[in-house]
């Protein structure tokens, strides 16, 4: 008897399921006189219908349940993806954003009909301002990179208004790729600042790079090595001394909630990733939300609309006087804002501070458990994450960090961020977040030790991993050389 087989979870497309007569949702019956499309659309009616699936509801339900089974989310298990803050996403936030009084709002409704939504937004602006230590907040940006664009354009507008347009923006070599990409979109020349041996900005080099043609520095603090820059006050002071401004990439805000505020460090602008620090889900890549908090000097340049509260308590949308203009349609990723608001109100100030404390304690704990397995290139107290180097393992065994990551999948653990930051050889960037139990952290450390032992004994085992996932290593080179980016119906088939 042959072994029973299961249909693979993935691979069969929704287009390949169902039959031409299959239907899920029927169109509503037409209760007004029908029209001749060719007549009312002046001949612009579609002649060939788009090739969409033909499926029943049960087939859709099963199809996506299979796909979901082939996915890994925070609810599936440990997800220590450095720089991404994969914390638990509370379910009440999902419930809240679906309330009809939020999900059913049109952005152009009269303001008096959306006072509840505007109150959520106004409150969130206030909450984020206090957390950031900066007085003005726009909720408009859709994501972190979008926030960077907003912040840097505001900085540009500020310099231009002062009659002092500047040419360059400084970015450390440890920066997220979005930082240099944003600098380029804003028409600035980018100058890379090296890191020093403690993993912070090399202040001596920074001082040689600062002059009155520098518009801004973009820093992440804590930085992408998970380290708080001990010289941050000196750095922002030196930046200000030449008339430049300091932008903070807030990707790592989770580490310092209630402990230290970017505004108090001397930053003039900060974007906040609600989908990291404030527990809104990543959705398999988005939507996120990237509010920007700025100093009083930059506030007039924020994109409109912002939410204002009048003396009588009524909320309205206003556009700042010298606004750079909107950076998207409507008011922001409101559904994400509701989730973040609910999260902040659930925790309050004390809860958010505990979040930072536990996130930092868990990272330092894990760092201690792993420091003898992989070298720690920057050995000092870390914040919410830390970076190990797989360089020695690669030299000794030929096993790369990529192989370690793939082997972790066989143990049911999502790998850390790998090969970032670029300044660490064979980097493993580990961010446990505060929402993981000690048991989970201990198991993770144990699994990594086992994997290190496997690497020493049988490198091929790791180089062939994973073995137990829905698919194994994929041919990414073929994906580029023979692009297949959209399904097309087979010729002569039912289509």
């Amino acid at each position: 008897m042959s072994a029973p087989t299961r249909e693979p979870l993935t691979g069969t497309l929704i287009f390949e399921r169902g039959a031409p007569e299959s239907r899920c949702v029927e169109s509503p019956a037409l209760d007004v006189p029908d029209v001749s499309l060719s007549e009312v659309l002046s001949g612009r009616q579609r002649t060939e219908p788009p090739v969409l699936p033909h499926v029943t509801e049960v087939e859709i339900a099963r199809h996506y349940e299979r796909l979901a089974s082939a996915n890994f989310g925070v609810d599936s298990g440990f997800y220590p993806l450095g720089s991404c803050t994969m914390k638990y996403n509370p379910k009440i936030d999902e419930w809240a954003c679906r309330l009809p009084g939020f999900a059913g709002l049109h952005p152009y409704q009269p303001p008096e009909t959306v006072q509840g939504a505007l109150e959520v937004m106004w409150e969130l602006q206030e909450l984020l301002a206090e957390i950031a230590g900066l007085p003005a907040v726009t909720l408009q940006p859709a994501a972190g990179a979008h926030g960077e664009l907003t912040g840097l354009l505001a900085i540009r507008a500020y310099h231009t208004a002062n009659g002092d347009p500047r040419a360059r923006v400084l970015v450390p070599d440890s920066a997220h790729g979005t930082n240099p990409a944003t600098v380029a979109m804003c028409g600035y020349e980018i100058v890379q600042v090296p890191s020093d041996e403690r993993g912070g900005v090399d202040v001596a080099v920074l001082n040689t790079l600062l002059d009155t043609d520098v518009a801004a520095i973009m820093l992440t603090n804590p930085n992408t090595l998970g380290l708080f820059d001990e010289n941050i006050l000196e750095i922002t002071a030196a930046v200000h001394a030449v008339g430049a401004l300091a932008y903070c990439d807030g990707a790592n805000l989770n580490a310092i909630l209630g402990k230290s505020r970017p505004g108090d460090m001397g930053f003039d602008a900060l974007h906040i990733n609600l989908h990291k620090t404030f527990a809104t889900p990543h959705g398999g890549g988005g939507p996120g939300s990237g509010p920007v908090a700025v100093s009083g000097a930059l506030a007039p340049y924020l994109p409109g609309p912002l939410v204002a509260r009048a003396a009588d308590g009524a909320f309205s949308l206003v556009t700042p006087e010298r606004s750079i203009g909107r950076v998207r349609s409507f008011v922001g990723n409101f559904g994400v804002l509701v989730r973040a608001y609910a999260y902040i109100r659930a925790l309050g100030g004390s809860g958010l501070t505990e979040v930072a404390e536990q996130a930092v304690l868990s990272a330092n704990y894990l760092k201690e458990l792993l420091r003898d397995v992989w070298p720690l290139p920057y050995d000092r107290v870390c914040k919410h994450e830390f970076v190990l180097s797989g360089g020695r393992m690669r030299k000794q065994t030929g096993v790369r960090t990529l192989d370690v990551a793939k082997r972790l999948l066989d143990y049911g653990i999502h790998p850390p961020t790998i090969y970032f930051p670029l300044i660490v050889d064979e980097a493993l960037m580990i961010e446990p977040t505060e929402t993981e139990s000690k048991e989970t952290l201990d198991r993770f450390a144990g699994v990594l030790r086992t994997i290190a032992a496997e690497a020493a004994e049988d490198p091929g085992l790791l180089q062939g991993a994973p073995y137990s996932t829905p698919v194994r290593r994929l041919d990414e080179a073929a994906a580029v050389k023979r692009p297949d980016l959209a399904w097309v119906p087979p010729k002569g088939g039912p289509g």
Binding site: Y419, V480, K481
Partner: protein
């Protein structure tokens, strides 16, 4: 791995002199570092290069590198076959994996490049 009849530069390009024409590609070391090459973006013949100019890009799945010409001159021929089979750069970096041919405006620039021994010493030092 590093043929003796070629010259090399610090950006890991190689140059072979064929009369007044310099044939160019990337070294074994460079292709090994990149991993499987999936795309090579090359200019068209007729483009005039100065030494140090970027003349294209080479990509693996997760990296992209600029290609720099160590010599000056006009591009007289481009290896168009690489657009269909970029992996030739991995398989035969010094043969079918060549990239451009340049009519040299200053042949002495070739003399200034490293020979195979010099390049291997340069790689050992970088390591």
């Amino acid at each position: 791995m590093y043929p003796k009849d070629l010259k090399y530069d610090r950006e890991h390009e190689w140059v072979r002199l064929e009369g007044g024409i310099a044939v160019m590609g990337i070294s074994h070391f460079a292709q090994d570092q990149l991993g499987e090459v999936v795309y090579v973006d090359l200019p068209t013949a007729g483009v005039v290069l100065s030494a140090g100019d970027s003349f294209g890009e080479i990509e693996s799945v997760k990296s992209v590198s600029e290609l720099f010409s160590p010599v000056s001159g006009e591009i007289v021929e481009v290896n168009d076959a690489l657009s269909d089979t970029p992996e030739t750069v991995n398989e035969d970096p010094y043969g079918d994996g060549w990239m451009i041919k340049v009519s040299l405006s200053d042949p002495s620039q070739v003399d200034a490049l490293m020979d195979a021994d010099g390049y291997e010493a340069f790689l050992a030092e970088a390591e």
